[in-house]
């Protein structure tokens, strides 16, 4: 933990908890590892109970570079996404053997049939986007209400934050009319190096009656990932 983290801890411990401070800490905890590499297994379940499984691998660096490649099933094998700073995003279409840039406005739309938006899958920036208010707490959890600072698809969020590890165990997303729309649960918290990270994310879209389960495996943090990984050339590999 860096000096800033320590200072933050002291602040949190001494001062009556402020919602905004908590989500800042949540963000910084999530973004703390410099690099991440993992394989994932996605399970998409639709309203009729049909399940579609996808597997892939991700690389992340500095919270602003990310490469995601699908390995299974065959119909999407080798399709890959590359996100770079300044909202630059590429997709590799293996059947065309071509890379195409994707416009930035997709950030708030769902990623490839999952219930996560592109944004929700990348870095965590709750403190940037929301003002938080502490609603209640018990021994282990803070319950926060997050109100968007600018235009958003959501009216507000209710976030349950684990006091011990600053991990949002559950986030409820409410639509503009105040109806519960999506629920994100973060489970299977594991300690990897000095970090505590959830390895099972379940996002439910109550309107679409659709659910995405993301099981993160072989997670490696703070490892050396060469810069070349985050190039268009590497997208094709």
């Amino acid at each position: 933990m860096g000096i800033l983290g320590k200072v933050m801890c002291i602040l949190i411990a001494t001062k009556a908890m402020d919602g905004n401070v908590i989500i800042k800490k949540v963000d910084s905890t999530f973004n703390a590892p410099k690099t991440k590499k993992a394989t994932f297994c996605m399970e998409l379940k639709d309203a009729s109970g049909n399940i579609e499984k996808r597997k892939g691998i991700t690389y992340e660096a500095n919270g602003n570079r990310r490469l995601l490649k699908f390995t299974e099933p065959a119909s999407i094998r080798k399709i890959a996404f590359l996100s770079l700073p300044n909202d630059v995003m590429y997709i590799y279409l293996p059947s065309f053997r071509k890379v195409r840039r994707i416009a930035t406005s997709v950030k708030n739309t769902n990623f490839a049939g999952t219930d996560f938006t592109y944004d929700e899958l990348s870095t965590m920036e709750y403190s940037k986007k929301y003002r938080a208010k502490l609603l209640s707490q018990n021994d282990s959890v803070w319950v926060l209400k997050l109100l968007p600072k600018s235009n958003s698809a959501y009216h507000h969020l209710i976030m349950h934050v684990d006091k011990k590890h600053y991990i949002p165990l559950k986030i409820e997303f409410y639509d503009k009319s105040g109806t519960l729309w999506k629920v994100l649960e973060e489970k299977n918290i594991k300690k990897i190096k000095e970090y505590y990270v959830p390895t099972l994310l379940i996002m439910k879209d109550l309107k679409k009656k659709h659910q995405t389960k993301m099981d993160i495996k072989n997670l490696e943090l703070d490892i050396n990932i060469p810069e070349k990984v985050f190039t268009r050339r590497y997208l094709r590999r």
Binding site: E52, I91, L93, S95, F96, I102, N108, N110, S177, R236
Partner: protein, 941 residues
């Protein structure tokens, strides 16, 4: 029966009272069913496929909401649309909405693919400049213009699909309520328009109930007036009325208990029963009055009347019941229901008239005037009848001549008949719902959902191309709006990613593009998640049914084969087929924009292009350099234009693989090569395919240029048309092509199972069913009536002339309908059968009276003369009063009911008139058989 009635009179009255109360309770369970898709039997293939499609993709029912305003393209306008979108989405039973606020926009901008909502409703554009820019963009795209925004940009459309099990009427009224409330609080002037089944059903349901409430009192009033004029007695009015009202209550109550819903046709039930059923009561009471006047005691008069009336009332009732029961087993469920319960109502009215009225007569003090004031016949009436008889008797052939004329008129009318099952035409033109629908049709072409369900591999380019072709055809139609499919989305995405409005060549490419669309709500409306089924969805007018069916049957291919064009020699007839296909596509694209093209000319251009090789020239160098540079940069390798130019000699004429590889090796930094050993090979392959694509693009440009030269200058300037045609030419040059299996001898076969579905085929089937039901019930009614009259008159000739007379009545009915353009619909189809059942009674009366007179010793001629004078009056008065009862229906809200009312009134008058003119004429013309029969009877007596 007479003694039994006397003995049990109290029980009878009590029982009728109790049954009536029980049946009244049954009203609680009455439901209204105006959904015409439920009129067909559940196992009808159109209904089954519609239910299947809607269970998979939603959208059996579609509500349309049009927002008209000069301020659509302002911040306030967008805000209003966004609020409407939010509130419609929140309505239970809404499956999906398509509008400006959520429609996908797929475009390629500055080298990147953009798949996004057309308007970001969470971040609406505020400044006028960007809104105007957006307006220009939206109105320039065929995908939106005329689909969800009118050509002039003043009307925005919400296409709201309902879930399969939605409470349609509830959803319809909620949509209306919410739209009105949001618009009223908006600060821009807006006009709202509603159309589509959920909105229509609400209006029809309220019309059904309102008509019942409105029409019954009017018909009761008329009956009271007529009865009083005839009977001059309060009980004389009360008893027949009580009988018909009780019979109606029993019928409707029974419908409630048996969960049979009221429909557009069954709301005429009480009106019909009241108008028809009083005759039985009147018959009973007038017979009773006659016997009282004849000096019989009350008990004796009741018993004698009951006995005397039984057979004639039963016979009249049976013919009437025949009319209604002839609808039994009709192809339309609600017509069958109507037939059963109105027939039962008639039966109840007969039973009550024969048993309940006598029972009541025992209990009440029914005063009978000694003089029969009602039974008067004026001298002038007798004179008219005398003259009429003279006229007929002298012109025996005239009746045959008139009959032929009338039958010809009938056939002509029947052939001109148009069937209508579109609910919208049930409303008068001036009604709000009809005006609203007309307005939306004018701006968006159609409002009846039509779906082409495609079962097959929806990721296969061949299947998608078939879908695109179908849509190309649909777009050319003035009566089909908004064709839309998964194939459309893939084509748009391909255009934004690779520049061509065409389906990609391979399944893998389709899968790649499709992956980018996954999770988009629109997909659920168009394609199954396993891509094994999908639909082409459109909104159409009824007139589109046949052309779509024709395309579906003749042009939509069921079996495709993959052909690798590189292996096909240039003299193969396959190229001729492909050129025809492509020129057809180009022609459709042009026709959609009102441009006519000479297909054979286009085909010649395409065939010519196959033989032409494109040679890269000096002018192309810069462009080709840029393309090849793109291959390097997409691998994050920087190279200069000069380095590329030095590479061109190994590429332009023919590919010198070795030299090219060596050159690439030299210009790629060693660290990259070390890091990525396959990079040289990759870049080389990239350059080769870039050159191939470059040549293909150039060839496409040449062909495009030639095709455009076939058009006028202002026509070929249309940007969207150019894109379409370019896409068609691109498809022509594809290397992997799917063609109908019958075109090639061998090749793997790809199956497509299409189903023509939606409300449009259901309406068409309904129309056909109305037609078939009409003929079927008419024939049944004619046959049964023929048998009944035969049995009653004791002669087959009696049956024949009665049936022939009634055939003329029906002919006049169809003649008038055909000539005046009155649609054959759920209401008017009832007229012919009801006319047979009721109208034949006048012929029966005439024949049986004639028989009596001849048996009394009169000659046939004299018998006819006497019958015309003695029975004519009663027949005319009865026909007029019953007809008047039917005429009440013209005050109904719905057009079929109005038409039903006046047509039936007319039919009553014509059947009475013909039984006093044509019928005697025909008997006089035939003479022989009747003389023989009646004389034989005389002898028998």
């Amino acid at each position: 029966m007479e003694n039994w009635t006397e003995k049990n009179r109290n029980v009878i009255i009590l029982l009728v009272g109790v049954i009536t109360l029980i049946m009244l309770y049954g009203f609680r369970f009455i439901k209204v069913e105006s959904d015409m898709t439920k009129w067909l039997k559940k196992d009808a293939k159109e209904v089954k496929s519609l239910n299947y499609v809607s269970s998979k993709f939603g959208g059996k029912d579609v509500a349309l909401v049009g927002i008209e305003s000069d301020s659509i393209f302002t911040y306030a306008g967008f805000k209003l649309l966004s609020e409407l979108q939010d509130s419609f989405e929140a309505i239970k039973g809404v499956s999906s909405i398509t509008s400006l606020m959520n429609i996908l926009d797929i475009k390629g901008t500055e080298g990147s693919i953009q798949i996004d909502n057309l308007v970001d409703r969470y971040n609406l554009p505020k400044d006028a400049l960007s809104i105007q820019k957006l307006k220009k963009y939206i109105l320039s795209k065929d995908m939106y213009r005329g689909r969800i925004i009118s050509e002039d940009g003043r009307v925005a459309l919400f296409v709201i699909r309902l879930t399969k099990d939605a409470e349609k009427v509830y959803v319809g009224s909620m949509i209306k309520k919410k739209a009105k409330s949001i618009v009223s609080s908006s600060n821009i002037p807006v006009k709202l328009y509603f159309s589509g089944t959920p909105m229509v059903l609400k209006s029809i349901n309220s019309s059904i109930m309102n008509d019942m409430i409105k029409l019954v009192p009017i018909v009761v009033l008329i009956v009271v007036f007529v009865l009083y004029a005839g009977m001059r007695n309060t009980y004389g009015v009360f008893l027949p009325l009580l009988v018909v009202i009780t019979a109606s209550i029993w019928s409707i109550g029974l419908m409630g208990y048996l969960h049979v819903p009221l429909s557009v046709v069954s709301n005429t039930m009480p009106v019909l029963l009241i108008a028809i059923g009083t005759a039985y009561g009147i018959h009973m009471l007038s017979t009773y009055a006659r016997h009282i006047r004849g000096g019989l005691s009350k008990t004796k008069a009741i018993k004698v009347s009951q006995k005397e009336v039984f057979v004639p009332v039963l016979l009249a009732g049976l013919t009437t019941m025949t009319a209604f029961f002839s609808f039994l087993g009709s192809y339309i469920v609600s017509i069958t229901h109507f037939g059963i319960f109105t027939g039962l109502g008639v039966a109840f009215a007969i039973i009550l008239s024969i048993i309940f009225i006598p029972a009541m007569l025992y209990k009440i003090n029914y005063k009978v005037d000694v003089e029969n004031k009602a039974d008067f016949r004026s001298i002038w009436y007798e004179r008219i009848m005398e003259h009429l008889f003279e006229f007929i008797a002298k012109r025996e052939f005239l009746s045959v001549f008139v009959a032929i004329l009338i039958i010809l008129l009938g056939i002509l009318g029947f052939l001109r008949l148009k069937t209508s099952s579109n609910l919208m035409y049930y409303f008068p033109k001036s009604s709000e719902i009809r005006r609203s629908a007309t307005f939306l049709r004018k701006n968006f072409k159609g409002d009846i959902p039509v779906y082409i369900l495609i079962k097959g591999d929806l990721q296969n380019p061949g299947v998608l191309q078939e879908m695109i072709d179908f849509e190309k055809f649909m777009r050319t139609r003035h009566d089909i709006g908004f064709p839309n499919s998964y194939a459309d989305l893939i084509m748009n995405l391909n255009e934004s990613a690779f520049g061509y409005r065409a389906i990609p060549e391979t399944k893998g490419e389709v899968q790649n593009l499709g992956f980018m669309l996954e999770g988009r709500p629109v997909l659920k409306q168009l394609v199954e998640s396993d891509y094994k089924e999908g639909i082409i969805s459109a909104n159409a007018l009824q007139s589109a049914y046949k052309p779509v069916k024709e395309y579906f049957d003749k042009r939509l291919h069921r079996s495709l084969a993959l052909v690798y064009m590189d292996t096909i020699p240039l003299n193969s007839p396959l190229y001729d087929y492909l050129a025809s296909q492509t020129s057809w596509r180009i022609m459709q694209d042009a026709a959609f924009r009102g441009i006519k093209l000479d297909t054979s000319k286009i085909k010649d251009i395409l065939l010519w292009s196959l033989k032409k090789q494109y040679v890269i020239n000096l002018k192309d160098v810069d462009e080709l350099t840029h393309k090849i540079k793109g291959v390097f940069s997409s691998n994050d390798i920087k190279v200069s234009d000069d380095q590329i130019r030095h590479l061109l000699p190994f590429v332009i004429d023919s590919i010198d693989t070795l030299k090219l590889e060596a050159y690439i090796f030299n210009i790629i930094p060693s660290d990259i090569r070390k890091d990525d050993p396959e990079i040289v090979e990759d870049i080389k392959d990239g350059i080769i395919s870039a050159k191939d694509a470059f040549i293909r693009d150039k060839k496409i440009d040449v062909v495009l240029h030639k095709v455009l030269s076939c058009m006028k200058a202002d026509e070929n300037a249309q940007h969207a048309l150019l894109k379409d045609i370019k896409g068609d030419i691109y498809t022509f040059f594809k290397k992997n092509v799917y063609v109908p299996s019958e075109v090639v001898e061998k090749g793997s076969s790809l199956k497509i199972e299409p189903v023509y579905s939606g409300i449009l085929p259901v309406y068409e089937e309904l129309s056909k069913s109305i037609y078939r039901s009409q003929i079927r019930s008419m024939l049944i009614a004619l046959f049964v009536v023929f048998i009944l009259v035969w049995l009653d008159s004791g002669s087959i000739w009696g049956g024949l002339v009665a049936v022939f007379t009634i055939i003329l009545v029906i002919s006049i009915n169809f003649g008038i309908m055909g000539l005046l353009g009155v649609n054959l619909d759920a209401g008017t189809m009832l007229v012919a059968s009801v006319a047979i059942g009721i109208g034949v009674d006048y012929s029966i009366h005439f024949i049986s009276h004639l028989k009596r007179r001849v048996l009394d010793g009169l000659s046939l001629e004299e018998g006819i003369r006497r019958t015309m004078i003695e029975k004519g009056h009663a027949i005319l008065v009865n026909a007029f009063t019953v007809g008047l009862g039917f005429l009440v229906a013209v005050f109904g809200t719905l057009i079929p009911i109005r038409n039903f009312g006046w047509l039936l009134f007319l039919t009553m008058l014509t059947s009475a008139t013909l039984s006093l003119t044509f019928l005697p004429g025909l008997i006089l013309f035939l003479k022989g058989p009747f003389n023989k029969i009646f004389k034989a009877k005389q002898g028998g007596v």
